[in-house]
Symmetry: C2
Subunit: 623 residues, 2 copies
């Protein structure tokens, strides 16, 4: 299957980053050795030593394919189903970029996205979400190959999986093709041709294979993960008439692949010529292409007064909508959508149409109620290149998409997550819709910026942080209105900063994020009446703060001041790193409840009085 | 639809906990008012004042239905798709309990599970997973009603969802019935009858409805979440000829429902008689039934020497398999399975058959590669009653099931999560399979016991904790072998305890969980050579430790000793609550890598030397 596919793929081992290459995603990532073998044979730079170091420290051949680690690997895969959903995102990106950039006679964006799935992928929910979305969007250039060997780790797939996959995919609006024998190269080639020919529907090619074919354990779960063993390997070698040593590849095999690889150069050269001519004829498009493919921002947002200008009280989700729309004009490659909550998430680009089967230039994607596939697709859009993808849902449902956010982080993808309704401020919808532990969940993932702004200016800072870091950023935004605070602003880019400093050494440091920062001012005023002084610290992003140098961190959280109070309408978990053993945390003791948001803030103790009391306790403790 | 269904349902408002009642799950939980209206009219104890206090502080009518909060509510719903998957678990439980308890002429377990879904549920991946599983398991007594109104928050479902739901469900092996008019009570009743008659396949009834019917906004997204407004309400009243005041229910309506409710008493009385006769005829079964429906354990495990007896080195996943099998003999209602990782999770009950379409008494469930539906189904099994469900996967894939674990916690369900391969000890599979932030993720969820045992004895403690708490427990278990430690044991039930105490006040407290506890002994020995003494603390469960009284906590983490070191091959996030600002944490700086587990422990600094060095730093800092 892999042989037939790669032979037909448009790619060039000498230019693994060629933008017009066909994409190949190994969604069944545990079969990484298959991909490494192809990369080795095609000359992508993987040596036989790399192959020998399979799954060893420092090797280019880790247990699962890793994007950015091994040339030619298009996506980090392994967590099942996600590679497929990521491929759907790549196909969305291709369709959009083609509409934006292609001109008559210049098909500079024109590639297929191939994805190889196993039975595991076929069982995961994210796969179902993504397949349904791909059918709706008529992603005709998406071609999935399903390695159907009927075996999973616990035994026959019959134990858990008796559905009719073909009928299911047809119900999604896919073309489904079947190949009865996974080693019939011609039949697979013909199926791929038929899949390419169908441009209205995505195609699924079901390829029936035998796991461990040619070994005594063929067709059993024994060959899924466990080594074959010397004896069975000997039998397999006999079966196939394979007379070479381990790691020895016959010269004619190398020669055969070298010829295939050489043939790749021609389409690449043709594309180069086409691209050059297009660039000449459409210099404005070429300039935009370059901008889209650069991390650099077209204007100096940090010093752009208009970018930081806001007025009046607003929910940070509304401010986010405002900033997103300011940016969308500067950055035509901002593209994304919501899992059916766009009006609530304020995540619509107002002057852009919807991306749909009929409107590929659209920038607003209706992902449907499919948070996980949405995020995985956003990863695919980021991987495709040229786009700055965003996706949106209620913060509490970041739970549903967390596995994809983890892969954004692992792949260093600048996917923007717009997560609104960020605390018990959600109110009436009650505990199922009120995030409590989600901030801790995000803050504990390596390589993610979690940013919970206190007001509109901090929202702007959050977007700027997202646009200038090569990692995912989660903007965590309020449902309820928040006032513009006095001294907020660019300081937020440092993650944590002082909003108000009293004269002399403060008696206590008050810190919070998001909607709770407002409380600190009022608590400080109450403390002042009692004769105590407080430093007020806004901490929108622990990750950005922790990345500052020691002197700066000391200027905000001075070691000598141990009377510290953190306030967050969420789990206390994690705040101890700033308040230590001698501070106080005003936080949620458990899940929320259903009532107006203001009532919940009062009932759960998020009041100036409660914060002031906590401060007095902290001052007392640290006398 | 609801009227037709509840009229046909076997239930008794006077006995909401009647074990043989039909179950009704409102998967589209945002329609909670529909369920509250039914509960009010049927006389489940919801008063008109409760209705008037819809979504207010302290009311019995929160924004989404909450199990345990409102009599008659079978499951907490709202996070879309999950109610459906939970219903699949209830249907699994019913099929199993019927096989275990029913005898000829005594169908004491015999009920349908009904679930009401919306377009949102239909789009979520967890729904797809659960539907496929239900088809495989031929859960003929599961009946789903799909309120197909073609409208979602962003507009028409056509924007995101054009698939053929009927064909998809048929592909899963379901019977699919259609009702063209959602207000045609007779047609709905007929469909429900047809669904009940089909005993081999689960049934989906697609009911076409018009959202906001009878209002000017009918059939549009405007009526999804926003209030109708006075004017539109007036028009609706006119359309329906409804002449009563708000919250006024005509007496004949109450009388009608009272008659329906009265009629419920008869089947309940018949069942009572049947149950009594069964209990007489099968006293052993009755005794087991009582045991199964009690939280109490049949033996005093705490003082059962055999339960705590282990020998030699073993991976805690293997010890878990051992303990699970010891318990399965005592607790025939232990039932569960893995998301296709049973051999790796060591989660098979060895002397029990598989639960399948042909073997309902089986206790091992093959959930397939469907972590999320697995956990949601386990919730359903727990809700059904009489069972102690467990589910298993790799710890890193707790990400996939987290939304269901959150609902276990919110519902106080004692679901056991067996999560193996718990750190970079996973080794060769690499970063996609190595948990880093998952411990923080679980520890930050309210009402979850996260338990990471250091050896086999602590595994036993973890199981005992799980069996004696009304909340979910996550057992976090190693892939790699771990030695039996000297002084581990029942102390682990306190969450954190001292394993070794030097003479006099220790210079430093060393603490860790799981596989890293072993390192502490070796580090302490190194420190001893340098003339420093260390207290060694095992901290398998922060939640259990935090629940101890202050004096106990002080005896383990004495306030006067601030030189503290925590060691965990995971994110440091959260450990600061024990080490404070002046301690040290030996932890993972980012994601893992692909290499043998032992190599990774060395490369990432989980060595006695590194721990000892950290201890010296902590001692120095706190001089």
């Amino acid at each position: 299957m892999a042989y037939a596919l790669w032979k037909q793929m448009k790619h060039d081992p000498k230019h693994p980053d060629w933008p017009a290459r066909d994409r190949f995603v190994l969604s069944a990532g545990h079969g990484s050795m298959l991909e490494y073998a192809l990369l080795h044979l095609y000359g992508y730079g993987l040596t036989m030593d790399d192959i020998k170091n399979f799954r060893q420290w420092g090797s280019k051949t880790p247990g699962h394919p890793e994007f950015g680690h091994t040339a030619g690997v298009e996506a980090t895969t392994g967590p099942l189903g996600q590679g497929f959903a990521t491929a759907v995102g790549m196909a969305i990106a291709e369709a959009h970029e083609a509409a934006v950039y292609n001109r008559d006679g210049f098909p500079i964006v024109d590639n297929y996205t191939f994805v190889l799935m196993g039975d595991g992928c076929m069982q995961e929910g994210v796969q179902a979400e993504a397949a349904s979305l791909a059918g709706t969007l008529k992603l005709g250039k998406l071609i999935a190959l399903y390695d159907s060997n009927k075996i999973q780790i616990e035994g026959s797939t019959e134990l858990a999986f008796t559905e009719n996959v073909q009928a299911r995919y047809e119900a999604y609006g896919w073309q489904v093709l079947c190949v009865e024998d996974g080693e019939d190269v011609k039949a697979i080639e013909a199926a791929i041709e038929a899949a390419k020919a169908e441009t209205e529907k995505p195609s699924l090619i079901i390829v029936k294979t035998i796991i461990g074919r040619g070994t005594p354990n063929a067709g059993t779960a024994k060959v899924h993960g466990a080594p074959l063993g010397e004896e069975n390997i000997a039998i397999m070698r006999q079966t196939y008439g394979w007379e070479y040593e381990p790691f020895e590849i016959p010269e004619d095999v190398y020669a055969h692949y070298a010829a295939l690889a050489d043939a790749c150069a021609k389409p690449k050269a043709a594309w180069d010529a086409c691209f050059e001519a297009w660039a000449k004829q459409y210099p404005e498009r070429k300039a935009q292409w370059d901008a889209d493919h650069s991390d650099a921002l077209p204007v100096d947002l940090l010093n752009d007064e208009a970018f930081w200008a806001f007025e009046g009280k607003a929910a940070t989700r509304a401010s986010s909508g405002e900033v997103l729309n300011r940016l969308s004009k500067l950055l035509p490659n901002l593209m994304g959508g919501s899992a059916d909550l766009a009006p609530s998430n304020c995540s619509t680009i107002k002057d852009a149409p919807d991306f749909s089967a009929n409107c590929r230039e659209g920038r607003n994607i209706h992902f449907g109620v499919r948070e996980f596939a949405m995020a995985a697709a956003a990863n695919g859009m980021a991987l495709y290149g040229g786009l700055r993808p965003f996706c949106a849902t209620f913060f509490v449902f970041s739970d549903y998409l967390k596995p994809a956010l983890r892969l954004s982080a692992l792949m260093n993808l600048s996917v923007l997550y717009i997560l609104t309704h960020d605390s018990i401020g959600v109110g009436e919808d009650g505990p199922t819709h009120e995030p409590i532990e989600q901030l801790a969940m995000l803050r504990s993932i390596p390589n993610v910026i979690t940013f919970r702004p206190a007001d509109a200016k901090e929202v702007a800072a959050g977007y700027l942080a997202a646009l200038t870091h090569r990692c995912p950023t989660a903007l965590v935004l309020s449902r309820q209105g928040l006032p513009l605070l006095e001294t907020t602003g660019k300081g937020a880019l440092k993650g944590g900063y002082v909003l108000r400093e009293p004269k002399g050494t403060p008696d206590v440091i008050l810190m919070a994020s998001g909607s709770e920062v407002e409380l600190l001012y009022k608590a400080a005023d109450l403390l002042s009446v009692r004769g105590f002084t407080a430093r007020i610290v806004s901490m929108p992003s622990m990750e950005l703060f922790d990345a500052q140098d020691a002197a700066y961190r000391e200027s905000v959280l001075s070691d000598g001041i141990r009377a510290r109070v953190a306030v967050e309408a969420a789990s206390a978990f994690g705040w101890q790193k700033y308040v230590g053993l001698d501070g106080e945390i005003v936080s949620m003791p458990g899940f929320g409840a259903s009532a107006p948001g203001g009532t919940l803030f009062e009932q759960f103790g998020f009041t100036p009085e409660a914060v002031a009391k906590a401060a007095l306790r902290a001052i007392e403790k640290n006398r």
